[in-house]
């Protein structure tokens, strides 16, 4: 491992200055559960890691009528231990609760999971179906990017030199909204998704029709995938077995998995179909309370 310096700035501005100065020889440090493993694996030669955990904006965790704000360094356990988040954002909790074991969840951050940009990142698909936005600060100002556009390849994000993910904004779920996330792994815990699906639904006032739906797929492409065709196929449709099955088939077709040690293309595609159906039904159940 390349020996790196440790810096813990107190402000976003200070962090950006250090990141900009070092370019690709510096990385932000949130929980470190991916970063330190990758630094040891010589993924990068780092001169500096920039700990974001002393920056107030990166550690905020606020729920209000305007929605949920998750600072980029907030660890998973703070998400699933939060009563209001548990009741109002159960789909986000589904992801936070299954990232690593308890030790990892003490450190690993939702924002770090997003910036690590693994196709299997368990926090990412839930954020996509909640319509979350990444709040980015950089040398030339701030910008917001939809989470579905944030990852651009395995381990690659839209972040440019000197830019820092400060927080993630999740809009307040409208009435009739429900969301859920589930992955398939051959173990009970502590594994990486073979395939996974997040679904959010917004039901109309009668509770019998889909007003809008968002479906996102993990571990079946180079990035987490926002399955727009499957999502749109349910817009305005009545809730029934046929509409749900059709959407699941479209989601399967939108996935583009590879075969590797965790699963084959065929297995993963079948999983997407099965889990999509399951998650649509679970999201409906949650929407109906």
């Amino acid at each position: 491992m390349h020996p790196f310096n440790y810096v813990a700035p107190l402000t976003v501005k200070e962090a950006i200055d250090i990141l900009e100065k070092h370019g690709d020889r510096a990385r932000p440090l949130a929980g470190g559960t991916d970063l330190l493993v990758q630094a040891r694996g010589n993924k990068w030669d780092l001169d500096a890691v920039v700990d974001v955990k002393k920056i107030p904006e990166a550690m905020q965790l606020d729920v209000s009528n305007n929605g949920l704000t998750i600072g980029a360094g907030v660890p998973c356990y703070q998400i699933y231990d939060h009563e209001k988040i548990k009741s109002d954002y159960p789909g986000i909790v589904d992801g936070a609760f299954i990232i690593g074991g308890i030790q990892i969840q003490s450190r690993a951050a939702i924002g770090g999971n997003l910036c690590n940009a693994a196709p299997s990142g368990d926090a990412i698909c839930p954020l996509i179906v909640y319509g979350a936005t990444a709040n980015i600060a950089g040398p030339s100002g701030n910008r917001d990017v939809s989470v579905e556009d944030f990852c651009v390849g395995p381990g690659k994000t839209v972040l440019k030199n000197g830019e820092l993910l400060v927080s993630i904004s999740v809009p307040d779920p409208p009435s009739g909204f429900g969301a859920a996330y589930e992955r398939f792994i051959p173990r009970n815990e502590m594994d990486i998704a073979v395939a996974a699906v997040a679904v959010s639904v917004t039901l109309d006032n009668s509770g019998t029709n889909f007003e809008s739906v968002r479906i996102a797929l993990a571990s079946v492409g180079p990035t987490p995938i926002f399955a727009t065709k499957a999502s749109n196929s349910l817009q305005g449709k009545p809730i029934n077995e046929r509409s749900i099955s059709e959407a699941a088939t479209i989601a399967k077709d939108e996935s583009s998995p590879i075969s590797d040690m965790r699963g084959t293309i065929e297995h993963r595609k079948q999983l997407i179909e099965v889990i999509t159906k399951r998650m649509i039904n679970k999201a409906i159940k949650r929407a109906r309370g």
């Binding site: 020996p3 790196f4 813990a8 493993v37 074991g101 030790q103 450190r107 502590m190």
Partner: protein, 157 residues
């Protein structure tokens, strides 16, 4: 600017410590090589096995995935802090009585992790214990004895 030493002030097992550690050194290495507390073990070095579990500010963590620099101002508890002058911690006794270890390399991690659970939840279900300890691997016992040992302490709670 790489490779600077960081000045760290911390509390380990209720004792104050002050030391210098290289900026890139893990908490695990600092505990073992600088502080001299070798009870915490190195296993996989990537957050899978939990052998290096310690408690930082009330949360169990893999000390291989924490930088020593990050614990400045924190309270750290390691396996060395479990036994008191009166004897072994109830979990340590239960591990002995239930034969919840064979080679022992995973044991400090399991003990610190289990203590982290029982400190906050004195009577967890078996399912909860197994879920909580999923981040600790043992390649000898097959887990049942470890879970029984933790249950023994929780029921005696």
């Amino acid at each position: 600017m790489a490779n600077t030493n960081i000045h760290i002030t911390t509390t380990i097992n209720e004792q104050p410590y002050e030391f210098l550690a290289p900026s890139y050194m893990s908490l695990l290495d600092a505990l073992r090589e600088i502080v001299g507390l070798t009870g915490t073990k190195e296993g996989c070095l990537d957050g899978n096995c939990g052998a290096c579990t310690v408690n930082v500010d009330g949360r169990i963590v893999d000390s291989c995935l924490v930088l020593a620099a990050e614990i400045d101002g924190c309270k750290v508890e390691t396996v060395e802090g479990m036994a008191s002058s009166e004897g072994l911690h109830p979990l340590q006794k239960a591990f002995l009585e239930e034969a919840a270890l064979q080679c022992g390399i995973c044991t400090p991690g399991f003990l610190v992790a289990a203590k982290g659970l029982l400190d906050n939840e004195p009577n967890p279900s078996e399912h909860r214990i197994r879920h909580w300890l999923a981040g600790n691997l043992c390649r000898c016992t097959g887990y049942d004895k470890i879970v029984k040992a933790v249950q023994k302490v929780s029921s005696e709670g």
